[in-house]
Structures are given as structure tokens and as C-alpha cells.
Amino acid sequence: MKKRISEPVKKPLVWIGFVILFALINPWYFPAGSWSPLFFGVPYWALIILLASLALSIFITWVVMTQWETGADEDEGL
């Protein structure tokens, strides 16, 4: 069987990406209790967390589209 099998869990790049993004969605890197400046009433750090979360969603999209290929359906002749 010569299928190219690719699983996200076996890709170092996937793990590195997840670890970095996981670190970024935890708000440990802001000065404690700070909130200024506000953008439309939202504290700057909350916007950064939301941007990091969006980056995680985009990274997940990339992982699903390019790093996941098991050919499971061909196995069944589908």
C-alpha cells in the first residue's frame, strides 16, 4: 500500500504550533491588572487574547487541510 498517510499528532510542526499558541491564549504575559488602553471599551489584553485565539483557529484550519490525510475512505472502497 503506497498511500501517503499523514496524522497531525505525528508532526513536530503541529505540536510546536499548538504549544506556542496555547502559551499565547493564556494571559500570563501582561502586567497584572492592567487594562489601558481601551479600544471601544475592550481592554488591550483582551483583544490580544482574541487575536491569539483567532490565530489558533486559523492554525487548526491549516492543520486539518494539510496535515491530516489517512485515506480512510479509500480503505473501504468509497
Binding site: 499528532v9 503541529v14 491564549i25 502586567p31 492592567s34 482574541l50 489517512t70 485515506g71 475512505d73 473501504e76
Partner: protein
């Protein structure tokens, strides 16, 4: 609900009747489309492994977002402020955790025709002890989960109808409808109703947000209130709240991905491509659901200042009242919102019940009691045992036992103990059956004891302590024991990519 909803009464009853009728119609439609549904386990419990992108997406959506997301999250955001922004990334974490096991699990599900999570454990470990323990833990956790949904349905119905419909009548009405459409169409009914519920819920939360922005003040007003009265709700988290943030990301990520009904849905995808596309959509939903209800809670800080904790639990009802009094559009939008909340609870309950029945049908009755029974009989047994469980749980909901009530609280703590067997088993051929059994049992006992004693060392939840012990025993036991070559070879045949 203590706050009387301005729109409760006959409009509420009307929407609930309409909703019930619609769900029954979906059940009849699913039944007519596929009359063979009662003859095949695959058809009944997995929709013939043929769910397309939209339906699969909404059925995942309904397992993750329940009525509690809409009613319970804004009050938490109200009390914690921006510290509760964690509710957006923790839903994304669930998809991240899925990616660590779903690709292989889906492929194995196709190759070995897996039906339930317990089916997978049995294939991997071939051990009666492990299979039965996992089945019991899942049935127990799912049963308690169902109990919680029934209580919520009753409260929702009596709140929406202003007590015109008593708690008990509401529960019985929706349970009868839920069981009827599940029995008619199995997984297809459940998934189609999940789709309708998802759309209703999304419509409801968006109108709630738009109405709040128009009539109750926006985020800048909320920020001014917080600066003046509670700057800690605006500030970046520190110390203990940082630990809570971290724990929530880990616990929700792992926990929600391995809920048996969430796990089982991977087997129901029509193709790998379908599954992938559903996951991609799920990765963006947290912004549109958790993010939206979070904003609603923040707006509430300025609109309804100085509520006590108990009062703040009624926040969504108060906001809905304020909007319903504005004009006819918002009046009906809020009726639909609360109808959608109840629908969301019902659709979580139906998924849980279906998975419960599938474990009884396939893993207990079908595997050990009557392996030779035909599939329609196995389905029938699953349905009937599910019904008995529903009746018992309803009785428990109405007459809560005074002393042993805590055993009905354990859900997540117990379910998460199956994670090492489910996930480690996918990748590690040396994982030892005996170690898995001991770890699962010890983890459950530890989590239960810590929960009952109210003991939470280092502020970490009891379920996580149980999981740590469980993992340590699984890994340690496997490393110390000599896995026989035959066992490893067998494991490799199952989880390896080479064809047997």
C-alpha cells in the same frame, strides 16, 4: 427562574407547542426516509455513517453548546468581567484536542465498523474487565448528565410559561417528544433536530446581543462602569485567576472532546472530508457563540449594576424582559430565544440518551448477554433500558434523595477517567490492559472521594487529580510490566496502518 419573564404565559406555551410539533415532524420525516432504521445498529445509532457536513457540524455544535451556554455564561461574565473571556479559547481547545485523536479514530472506526466508544476499548484491549468498567463509567456519567438536563428543562419551561405550565408537566411533555422522535429516526432524528436547534439558538443569541447594544448600552459604557466600580473586572488576570484560566483550558479541552456522545459522533461522519470540514467550521464557532454571550454579560454590568450572585443568575431573563418591552419584534425574538434555550437543552439530552442506549445495545446486551440476537432486538433492548433509565432519572429529579445526592453530581470527573484508555490506546502498543483497568478504577475512586470530601488540593479540580493518578498508573504499570510480544503484535495490528 425567580424573575418573571415579561413574555411568559401563552406566547411561551405557543412557541413550546410549535417546537414540540416540529421535532415530532422531524422524527416522522427521518423514519419515512429510512424505514430500515430499526433493523441495523449502524442506521439507528450512527445514521448509517452518512451524516453530511452541515448536519454533522450542527450535531457537534449541539453537544458543545447547550442551553447553559446562553443562560449560564452571561452571569459568569457579569461577575468575573474580562477574566471570563477564557470561555472563547476553551471552546477552540476542544477542536485542538480532537485533532490529536480523531484522524486515527475515524480511520479505525471505518475499518472495524466501530459503533460506540466502548466498542473501541473492547477492540483495543480485548478484556472483559476493562470493557465492562468503561461501559459502567460511561453509563453512570451519561445518566447524571441526563438528570441535569431534565432538571434544566423543567426550570426552563416553567420560567418561560410563567408557571402556567408546572415544572413536572414541562419535563414529561418534552421527554415524551424526545423519546418519540429518537425512537422514530435514531441518530438521523437527533442530528436533524440538532440542526434546527442550532439555528434557533444562533438567531436568539444574536438578537439578544443586537438588542442589548441598542437599548442597554455598549461595551464602552460597561468599561466606564467597571473603571469606576470594579477595575479588577477589566484588568489582566493574575495569580489564582491565571491558574483557573489555565485549568479551564485544559479541562474543557480534554473533557468535552471525550464525552462519549461527542466521541461517538466521529464514527457518524459520511467521509473523512466531511469530518474535516465540520471541524474547521467548529474552530470558528466560539467567536459567534461564547464570544457573543460573553459580550451580553459584560453589557449587563452597566445595565444592571450591583446584583448579588443569586440575582445575577437571572441576568439573561432580566435583559430579555427589558428588550421584550421595547417592541413587538424583540418581544417575539425573546420568546424564540427562550424556546431555543429549551430546545438546546432537549437536543443535548437526546444525544446523551442515544449514546446511553447504544452502549446498552451494543456493548452490554449485544456483547455479553445475547451476542446472537439480531440487530433489531439489540436496538429494542437499548431503547427500553434507555426508557427505564429516563423514568428513574425523572423520579430522582422530582424526589431528590436527601443524603446520597452527591452521587448524582459526578459526571465529568468519572467520564474523563476513560481518556487514557481511549486516547493513549490509539498510539501506544505497549499500553498494558491490567494497568489501564487499575488506573481507571483508582482514578475514579480518587476523583469521587475528593469530590465528596470537597477536597481540592492546589485549587486543581478533583477530576484532574483522578486523571493524573490514572495516567501515572497506566504509564507506570505499562513500563514496569513486560508486554508479551503476542499482545504488542495484536495491538499493532489494530492501531498500525498496515493491513491485517
Amino acid at each position: 427562574m425567580e424573575v418573571e419573564l415579561a413574555f411568559s404565559g401563552w406566547s411561551g406555551i405557543l412557541v413550546l407547542m410549535l417546537y414540540g410539533g416540529l421535532m415530532l415532524a422531524v422524527g416522522v420525516y427521518a423514519f419515512l426516509r429510512n424505514r430500515k432504521v430499526r433493523e441495523s445498529l449502524d442506521e439507528y445509532y450512527l445514521g448509517g455513517r452518512g451524516l453530511g457536513v452541515m448536519v454533522l457540524f450542527f450535531t457537534f455544535f449541539a453537544t458543545q453548546y447547550s442551553g447553559n451556554t446562553v443562560v449560564g455564561y452571561p452571569p459568569t461574565a457579569y461577575r468575573l468581567g474580562y477574566q471570563y473571556l477564557v470561555s472563547v479559547p476553551f471552546f477552540i481547545m476542544i477542536i485542538m484536542v480532537y485533532l490529536l485523536f480523531a484522524p486515527r479514530l475515524y480511520a479505525l472506526g471505518r475499518r472495524f465498523n466501530l459503533l460506540t466508544p466502548v466498542d473501541w476499548i473492547d477492540l483495543r484491549f480485548r478484556s472483559k474487565k476493562v470493557t465492562i468498567l468503561a461501559a459502567i463509567l460511561m453509563l453512570y456519567g451519561l445518566g447524571n448528565y441526563l438528570l441535569e438536563q431534565f432538571v434544566a428543562i423543567g426550570q426552563g419551561v416553567s420560567g418561560l410559561t410563567g408557571g402556567t405550565i408546572p415544572y413536572q408537566v414541562g419535563v414529561v411533555f418534552f421527554i415524551v417528544i424526545m423519546v418519540a422522535y429518537s425512537w422514530l429516526g435514531g441518530m438521523r432524528s437527533v442530528a436533524y433536530t440538532d440542526t434546527i436547534q442550532g439555528i434557533a439558538l444562533l438567531f436568539g443569541v444574536f438578537t439578544l446581543l443586537i438588542g442589548s447594544l441598542i437599548y442597554l448600552g455598549g461595551l464602552p459604557t460597561a468599561a466606564e462602569t467597571m473603571i469606576a466600580e470594579a477595575p479588577e473586572k477589566l484588568g489582566a488576570p493574575t495569580g489564582g485567576s491565571l491558574t483557573t484560566w489555565f485549568c479551564l483550558l485544559v479541562l474543557v479541552g480534554i473533557g468535552a472532546a471525550i464525552y462519549p456522545h461527542a466521541f461517538q459522533r466521529i464514527f457518524a461522519a459520511r467521509s473523512e472530508r466531511t469530518l474535516k470540514r465540520s471541524f474547521i467550521r467548529m474552530a470558528y464557532m466560539p467567536f459567534l457563540t461564547a464570544g457573543v454571550v460573553f459580550m451580553v454579560g459584560i453589557i449587563g454590568i452597566a445595565a444592571f449594576p450591583d446584583l448579588t450572585t443569586a440575582e445575577s443568575e437571572q441576568l439573561v431573563g432580566m435583559m430579555a424582559n427589558a428588550l421584550a418591552n421595547q417592541n413587538a419584534f424583540f418581544y417575539w425574538a425573546m420568546v424564540l430565544l427562550f424556546g431555543g434555550v429549551i430546545a438546546a437543552i432537549v437536543s443535548t439530552a437526546d444525544s446523551v440518551l442515544l449514546t446511553f442506549s447504544s452502549i446498552v445495545s451494543n456493548d452490554l446486551y449485544g456483547r455479553y448477554i445475547a451476542p446472537d440476537a439480531d440487530e433489531s432486538r439489540k436496538i429494542l433492548v437499548g431503547k427500553l433500558v434507555g426508557l427505564v433509565a429516563v423514568v428513574v432519572l425523572v423520579l430522582i429529579a422530582w424526589y431528590p434523595p436527601g443524603t446520597l445526592y452527591q452521587i448524582f453530581v459526578l459526571k465529568f470527573e468519572v467520564l474523563i477517567q476513560t481518556a487514557p484508555a481511549l486516547i493513549l490506546g490509539l498510539y501506544w502498543s505497549r499500553l498494558n490492559t491490567q494497568a489501564v483497568f487499575v488506573g481507571m478504577l483508582a482514578g475514579t475512586v480518587l476523583a469521587a472521594v475528593f469530590t465528596f470530601a470537597g477536597y481540592r488540593p492546589l485549587g486543581v479540580y478533583s477530576g484532574l487529580w483522578g486523571l493524573l493518578l490514572n495516567l501515572a498508573l497506566c504509564v507506570g504499570g505499562s513500563l514496569l510490566s513486560q508486554a508479551t510480544e503476542a499482545n504488542r503484535q495484536r495491538a499493532l495490528e489494530v492501531i498500525g496502518w498496515q493491513r491485517p
